[in-house]
């Protein structure tokens, strides 16, 4: 970073969207400065923890199998968001995913077939060889080759916006703040999920019990600065991608290995030892993202998935082994549950299980009868010792409250006009497309398509 130099494009953020923007703008001839608030080792934001990209495709296309036409993609998105999505922007992302893999590969990203335990995604999601950090590393290497200036430990704290025009960013670095001028600004600095105070503002005291699955550097500072600068927002501050994770996970950065995927194979009880939701409602990939919110609404934001020896080996084991006991009663104590209450719940469930043919891969006919809430599929008695449990907490991946953008990735001001030289990409604007719910691999799709668009538009603005 050259002091006093006015870059064409200043990118705030260091994850997938930021790099896609920086690489695209640089390739178009713009001078680019990328400011990553994390140290080098933790660069990449949440992209470090990602693993795939949801891709539209009309025929088998390495590494994807089958087809995933635009309309099916759109239907899936409408389904999870309950219609809370901007169709024009969503369709732009969907179309963009059909052709972006070639660009990604040209910048060093390698793909692999669907990984073990994720075969249901084989026709929709292209997996990154080595995961998101490998992708991020490839992009940083490409950035170095192309001549993007990258600075780590550099946090954008505030923005100078005069009459709807970005003039410069206040950047904290090496213990002091400086004003960094630039001709255009790309906001790609993620959501605010690592900002406990902001979460508390949205969720109340229960936010203290949320675990943050990804980077601790997504404090929402750039989002706040844009909001203060007059950007129109989209989405509700309590909406986020949240899943149920192992309660023993660290408060930040536990990533994928803390995810608990055995809920359809057992029952879930709250701190009172009572069930509260249908564990077999739908196929797990379609429901895994509802359990974060479900657990968040339980007392102390905690829950426990209970299963028996039958289920072991049928799901990807999280990094920590489950709590194990020879009986349900003995299982209760280490979980801090009332033994009689847990036993009562399990007995009532077992009594309600009707005979059926178990098949984890389809919506089978193993269901309960006369139980509230029911378990609609994969209901088998929990009676084969030893018994197991994972304690659960809500694990927040990223928040959806973001800035409004148009199809050129321009930030929309509160008066409805698009900004001339401020663009946004990635989690900071994902709420335009994700009003609620989540689809695996959509975050990277939005980041890649809008990142490239933001870079292209920023470079175009500088040229004109």
């Amino acid at each position: 970073m050259d002091p006093g130099r006015t870059y064409d494009v200043l990118v705030a953020g260091g994850g997938n969207a930021a790099l896609c923007a920086a690489l695209t703008a640089r390739a178009a001839g713009a001078s680019v400065l990328l400011l990553e608030s994390a140290p080098r080792h933790f660069r990449g934001g949440n992209s470090r923890h990602t693993r795939n990209l949801r891709c539209m495709h009309d025929g088998p296309s390495d590494p994807l199998t089958g087809t995933y036409p635009a309309d099916e993609y759109w239907d899936d998105l409408q389904d999870v968001t309950g219609g809370r999505t901007n169709e024009a922007l969503a369709r732009m992302v969907i179309a963009g995913t059909a052709e972006c893999r070639k660009w990604m590969a040209a910048h060093g990203v390698r793909f692999q077939p669907s990984i073990g335990g994720a075969l249901h995604l084989a026709h929709t999601n292209a997996f990154f060889l080595g995961g998101g950090k490998a992708l991020i590393n490839a992009y940083y290497r490409a950035a170095a080759r192309l001549g993007v200036d990258v600075v780590y430990d550099a946090e954008v704290r505030d923005l100078r916006i005069e009459n709807g025009r970005f003039e410069g960013a206040v950047v904290a670095r090496n213990g002091h703040a400086e004003l960094v001028p630039a001709r255009t600004f790309v906001a790609a600095a993620g959501g605010f999920q690592a900002n406990r105070e902001w979460l508390r503002h949205a969720w109340g005291a229960s936010a203290d019990n949320f675990l943050i699955r990804g980077t601790p550097y997504d404090t929402g500072r750039v989002l706040r600065a844009l909001m203060d600068g007059g950007a129109a927002t989209t989405g509700d501050p309590t909406q986020c991608h949240a899943v149920a994770i192992d309660a023993r996970a660290p408060r930040f950065d536990g990533g994928i290995v803390t995810r608990v995927d055995c809920i359809p194979l057992g029952i879930v009880v709250n701190a009172r030892g009572e069930r509260f939701h249908d564990e077999g409602e739908d196929l797990w990939p379609k429901r895994y993202a509802v359990w974060g919110r479900l657990v968040a609404r339980q007392p102390d934001q905690t829950a426990f998935v209970i299963f028996d020896a039958r289920a072991l080996g049928r799901f990807i084991p999280p990094m920590l082994p489950p709590v194990e006991a020879p009986s349900i009663r003995r299982l209760a104590a280490p979980l801090g549950l009332e033994p009689a209450a847990l036993e009562r719940t399990v007995m009532a469930y077992n009594a309600a299980v009707r005979p059926g043919t178990f098949d984890a891969a389809t919506l089978d006919d193993c269901a309960t009868a006369g139980l509230t809430p029911p378990k609609s599929h994969w209901a088998r008695r929990i009676d084969r010792a030893p018994f197991y449990a994972y304690p659960l907490r809500p694990g927040i991946t990223f928040t959806y409250l973001g800035v409004q953008v148009d199809e050129r990735a321009r930030v929309i001001w509160q008066d409805g006009r698009p900004a001339a030289n401020v663009f946004a990409a990635g989690e900071i604007m994902a709420g335009n497309i994700l009003g609620q719910g989540y689809l695996a691999g959509l975050g990277m799709a939005i980041g890649t398509v809008f990142g490239r668009k933001a870079g292209e538009e920023a470079a175009r603005h500088v040229r004109n």
Binding site: L129, G131, D253, G255, V257, G313
Partner: protein
């Protein structure tokens, strides 16, 4: 379970580090497509010591998974698969080594071994010189007259290297057997796929021996390894053909430049010069945190001995008719003797154990 297993158990901290890393890899799976280590992890729910030894011997230490790892240090989970598996691999070498007493060599400091490797050939030359007497030892010899055998009689050479070779062969065979027993007891977790042809292909072509992370970088490590491995095979073939010529056909050495043993030897010797030098260079260029320090000495000794053997062999061919022949022959024979004596207790065994691990992997473990 580890207490009831025969042989040296892993140090508890190493076992815990290995299990910790493997459990995290099993939950993550992002590296599945990198190499067989990760699919092998996914075939397990948990990891006993024998599982970790198997994984350790499958690993080629390319470092790609460390580069890709979202949990690599300084992340609090501190997952460093290549380094953890390197330490477990070294422990497995000790466990399989015969006799057990000699396996302590694996634990010796690299410097002592290195000095030994450098000094042994010189010592051998000096002793040989004293036994022969300086008149003969330092005299100019005529190639054609079989000058080698004036320095060391043919029968003495055969007796010495027959004994050394037989010892190395027995020790390596016992290690191989112990390793296979360890691997054979593993439960099958996957469907067999292409064993042994696929395992042989992987051992010969080393598709997983990258040099880290960047797919754009040329795979120099694999190239140098091929030079070393095939160089060694060619030299071994040259010696075998020469022994056949001498003992069966009655054609005594030395052989002309365009004969089969000389061609094989020259080609192999060139490989054994370039390969070990290249590997050594890459090794010294590697960042410190990518090394298993305790293993470094062992790795370097093998490379140095191979290089010494080859260099002295080639010089012997070039200067066989000069007064340098005697000392060169001493150094060469000393290097060969040291190489063979250290084979069962050094880096060389990785080739055997890795092949068995690959074979076991293709059989479904």
């Amino acid at each position: 379970m580890s207490a009831t297993e025969a042989g040296t158990p892993l140090p508890p901290r190493l076992f815990q580090a290995g299990r910790h890393a493997a459990r995290i890899c099993n939950a993550c799976r992002y590296c599945e497509g990198l190499c067989p280590v990760f699919p092998a992890i996914e075939r397990r729910l948990d990891f006993a010591e024998a599982d970790l030894r198997y994984l350790a011997n499958l690993c080629h230490d390319c470092g790609a998974c460390l580069d890709a790892c979202q949990y690599a240090p300084p992340h609090p989970f501190g997952v460093d698969v290549p380094r953890t598996l390197a330490a477990i691999r070294r422990a497995s070498y000790r466990r399989y080594a015969w006799p057990a007493r000699a396996s302590a060599l694996f634990a010796r400091s690299g410097l002592a071994l290195l000095l030994g490797a450098a000094a042994a050939p010189l010592l051998f030359a000096v002793v040989l010189g004293l036994l022969t007497g300086p008149d003969v030892f330092l005299a100019r010899h005529s190639d054609a007259a079989g000058g080698f055998y004036q320095i060391m009689p043919h029968n003495a050479m055969v007796a010495l290297f027959g004994a050394v070779g037989a010892y190395a062969a027995v020790a390596l065979a016992v290690g191989l057997l112990r390793c296979w027993r360890d691997l054979a007891a593993l439960p099958a977790g996957g469907a067999p796929a292409g064993a042994p042809p696929e395992a042989v292909r992987e051992a010969l072509l080393l598709p997983h021996l990258g040099d880290g992370d960047d797919p754009g970088e040329p795979h120099w490590r694999r190239r140098w390894h091929h030079c070393t491995f095939y160089g060694f095979l060619l030299c071994f073939a040259a010696t075998s053909v020469a022994a056949f010529y001498h003992n069966v056909l009655g054609w005594p050495a030395p052989y002309p430049l365009l004969s089969v043993p000389a061609l094989l030897g020259s080609l192999g010797g060139a490989g054994l010069l370039v390969g070990p030098a290249g590997l050594l260079w890459l090794k010294l260029r590697r960042p410190a945190e990518r090394h298993d320090q305790a293993q470094l000495g062992m790795d370097i000794v093998l490379l140095v001995l191979l290089f010494e053997t080859s260099l002295s062999g080639l010089l012997l061919r070039a200067w066989g008719a000069t007064g340098a022949m005697g000392p060169l022959l001493g150094i060469h024979l000393g290097a060969v003797a040291g190489l063979f004596l250290l084979l069962p207790y050094g880096k060389f065994v990785h080739g055997l154990y890795r092949f068995l691990a690959l074979l076991r992997y293709r059989m479904g473990a």
